[in-house]
């Protein structure tokens, strides 16, 4: 299974929605505390001696915390940078023309970026300045700013079935569901007692959302009755940094945690843990499942390694 060594600590990995063999990795120097950043665009090749080819690498003045692929342009990337800027990169243009945009509106670190998979023309960025901003590619300034959280917003994720609905997870321990047509959030509830670090919508059931938190648990909720979770999954030893629902299987989800493991769960089953991968030697911070290839997953962590493997196989196998 291919392994890629990044010069900086990994923060996020995302598969391209256009090419099965392409992924982007967001990295930051010095664990993202203070330092430069780099955005890698990698291509998998069947050649076992050189499993990864780096299509492009873009240096930034500050760490890159997250990356999102455009759903409309196969070569476009959105990078969430720690100096508060949102940068757009086009891998089809020469490196000297990149970045093509640097959008500077957030007043603090931008922690996540997500592209609308239905409208394909807009994307969200969430930041430590308590806001979520909505952008389109053609405008130099944001369309809307959603300011209701009272602490860092760690993640903002579009609903895969409703083009105007998204959810935001924040350090103020609440999850908010928004509709961009409404002036304020339509739902708010506290899924955890501690900071909610990540959230993701179920791809096959539009009302199911998963949240994970510093309290080491992952909870799956139905937004129609959010008093009681559908499932609670404990098993991580430390804070859970990211959860992603599988694009191919309704009940499957993957999570990565500060306990250096990547776990796959089936939340409809009593014993939810399906598999656990402990290939990382530092915090596992980013994980993604490919939309185009069923079962293909990638993870990255502060040990500066990016693994790509098929679910069910050993990531460290050669």
């Amino acid at each position: 299974m291919p392994v890629f060594k990044t010069p900086f600590n990994g923060y996020s990995v995302k598969f391209s929605p256009f090419y099965e063999d392409r992924l982007a990795v967001a990295t930051a120097q010095n664990f993202g505390i203070l330092g430069n950043g780099r955005l890698h665009v990698l291509s998998l090749s069947p050649n076992p001696s050189q499993p990864f080819t780096e299509i492009a690498a873009y240096d930034t003045a500050d760490g890159v915390y997250d990356v999102a692929w455009s759903e409309s342009h196969d070569s476009l990337l959105v990078a969430a940078v720690a100096d508060g800027s949102v940068k757009l990169y086009d891998t089809a243009l020469p490196p000297t023309s990149n970045p093509i945009r640097s959008l500077r509106e957030h007043t603090r670190e931008v922690h996540s970026a997500d592209y609308n998979p239905l409208r394909r023309d807009s994307f969200l960025t969430s930041s430590w300045d308590d806001t979520v901003k909505l952008w389109t590619l053609d405008r130099p300034s944001s369309l809307r700013t959603f300011k209701e959280h009272s602490y860092c917003v760690y993640s903002a994720v579009w609903n895969p079935r409703h083009a105007d609905v998204f959810a935001s997870a924040s350090g103020d321990c609440t999850l908010r569901v928004w509709d961009v047509r409404e002036p304020s959030s339509t739902m708010v509830f506290p899924p955890h007692e501690l900071e909610v670090l990540t959230c993701d919508w179920n791809k096959y059931d539009d009302c199911i959302i998963a949240t994970a938190s510093v309290d080491k648990s992952i909870k799956v909720w139905d937004v129609r009755s959010f008093r009681v979770p559908i499932a609670v999954m404990n098993g991580h030893g430390y804070a859970v940094r990211k959860v992603r629902f599988s694009p191919h299987v309704r009940n499957l989800m993957v999570s990565c945690s500060y306990d250096m493991t990547v776990c796959v769960w089936d939340f409809m089953v009593e014993d939810a843990l399906v598999s656990r991968y402990d290939h990382h030697t530092e915090f596992a911070v980013g994980v993604d499942m490919s939309v185009l290839v069923e079962g293909l997953m990638a993870s990255t962590g502060w040990d500066e390694l990016v693994y790509v493997w098929q679910h069910g196989t050993d990531p460290r196998a050669p």
Partner: protein, 494 residues
């Protein structure tokens, strides 16, 4: 100043209904309301919140903190707003993103429900206005209070401190006069005192000199004794050495039986001078031992600092040394992104989303997608342009179909095996745009027989609209008619 009045709250569900009616999809209406909390208010929670908000300490805190606390406790927006309404004189100012939308919404809601919301709006407006005037008067009162306090302190200073100053100055002046008077009388006494002090000092000096002499004498005596002891010890050492030599000789000549006893004694005796000399030697040893680690410690290469080390560095104010100055600003801020080479692909969960013939269509579509992905791999990069464009057209067509149309299974095989002739590139790109863009035109000119299926479903209309909106971004050229005709020709040829 984001005033969110209660009229807007009443108006929200009806507004949503209006919007949905305008968008002409009953399904959307039900789905939009899914993401809004529809559970009834819990009276117990509301009462707890009222108690919380009535607490004097809570009254002093900002409204956003109060709202955030209640949200963390799990109250819904309606319950929070109800609690704010019940507690007198506390503002439920909801933070909103767009003030314009607020104004619009409040205007709309007031128009909708003139009776109820009109009065509610008026009361809230008056409340907000009274809040404004309250603000101003509050500020005025504060300013007045400050002025009064400043004046009061000034007066106090004048009254209390100035007299004190005067008395203090008077005292000093009086003391000076007194001193001047006294100094003339006390001159002779001062001289006497000085002389007495001098005599005492001389006496003390003499005593201390005597004491020093005594100490010196003692020291010299001690030294003598010490020297005597050392000489005696030296003599002993010499005797020991002498004896040792003799014993060795005896050993060598006679036997080992005596030697052990002698050895033991010799050892004991020899340990003492070692101690005396050892103090000096020990000092030397200690010096060398301390120097040894310094030389043995390896000069290790700089290793990657751990997270805690970096945090400590930052807190001390140091910057890690491996940071470079990078200019990551865009060289051309108006650079247009390059044209997309691929059409968006359908997501696995979108496939079969609006199906009526569920399983066979799903499977065929999945198969189609896989095959297309295989084709795409082949057409990656090292392929002549016309093949790549063929793949793109095929993909675009499939993308068009999968974007929400209920594609019949018969359509897929036709699309997969369709190999178009080689049109010139310019026309192809226009055709591609035309196929992507004007959905109704393409529909009408399609010769395949699923036209009726497309027109029959409301859902496809809605999706059509939304996909049109999304694809309006990618309009390259406006020459639609020629391109459409061209695309019709291409399609008819298949």
């Amino acid at each position: 100043m984001p005033p969110q009045n209660t009229g807007a709250e009443f108006g929200k569900p009806t507004n949503v209904d209006q919007q949905d009616a305008g968008e002409d999809a009953s399904k959307q209406n039900s789905k939009a309301s899914v993401f809004v909390n529809t559970e009834p208010m819990r009276e117990e929670q509301v009462q707890n919140a009222v108690k919380f908000l009535s607490h004097p300490k809570v009254r002093g805190s900002p409204v956003i903190y109060r709202r955030n606390f209640l949200e963390k406790k799990g109250l819904t927006k309606e319950e929070i707003d109800e609690a704010f309404r019940r507690v007198p004189d506390s503002q439920p100012s909801e933070q909103t993103a767009g003030a314009n939308q607020d104004v619009q919404r409040s205007a709309q809601s007031q128009a909708l429900q003139p009776g109820v919301s009109g009065s509610a709006g008026v009361t809230t407006l008056s409340r907000t206005s009274s809040r404004y005037s309250f603000h101003w008067s509050h500020a005025l009162v504060a300013v007045g209070f400050l002025v009064v306090s400043g004046a009061g302190t000034a007066i106090l200073i004048k009254k209390s401190i100035l007299p004190r100053l005067k008395s203090w100055i008077r005292k000093i002046v009086l003391e000076e006069e007194y001193d001047q008077l006294e100094s003339t009388d006390s001159k002779p006494t001062v001289v006497e005192e000085v002389s007495q002090a001098a005599k005492a000092a001389a006496a003390a000096a003499a005593e201390s000199a005597k004491a020093n002499q005594e100490i010196l004498a003692c020291r010299s005596e001690e030294r003598r004794y010490f020297l005597d002891v050392v000489s005696l010890l030296d003599k002993q050492v010499q005797e020991m050495k002498f004896m040792n030599n003799e014993i060795r000789r005896l050993e060598a000549s006679s036997g080992a039986s005596y030697s052990r006893q002698e050895d033991y004694q010799v050892n004991q005796a020899s340990s003492k001078p070692v101690i005396v000399n050892g103090k000096r030697d020990y000092g030397l040893h200690s010096v060398t031992s301390s120097s040894q680690p310094a030389s043995v410690e390896p000069s290790s290469a700089p290793h990657p600092k751990s997270y805690m080390e970096i945090m400590a560095m930052i807190q001390r104010g140091e910057k890690p040394s491996n940071i470079r100055d990078i200019d990551d600003s865009p060289p051309n801020p108006n650079q247009q992104p390059s044209n997309p080479r691929l059409a968006p692909r359908a997501k696995p969960w979108e496939v079969g989303q609006v199906q009526h013939n569920s399983t066979p269509v799903f499977q065929s579509q999945v198969n189609g997608k896989d095959l297309n992905s295989g084709v795409l791999d082949n057409s990656d990069n090292a392929v002549p342009p016309w093949q790549a464009k063929n793949a793109r057209i095929r993909e675009i067509d499939n993308g068009v179909e999968n974007n929400g149309y209920n594609a019949a299974s018969s359509q897929q095989p036709i699309k997969r095996t369709w190999v178009p002739p080689q049109p010139p590139p310019v026309v192809m790109s226009e055709a591609a745009e035309a196929i992507k863009r004007p959905k109704p035109l393409v529909q009408k000119e399609q010769i395949l027989d699923d036209q009726s299926v497309h027109h029959s479903s409301d859902i496809s209309d809605k999706v059509m609209e939304s996909s049109e909106l999304s694809k309006s971004e990618r309009q390259m050229e406006g020459s639609s008619t020629n391109a459409v005709l061209g695309s019709a020709e291409i399609l008819e040829e298949s």
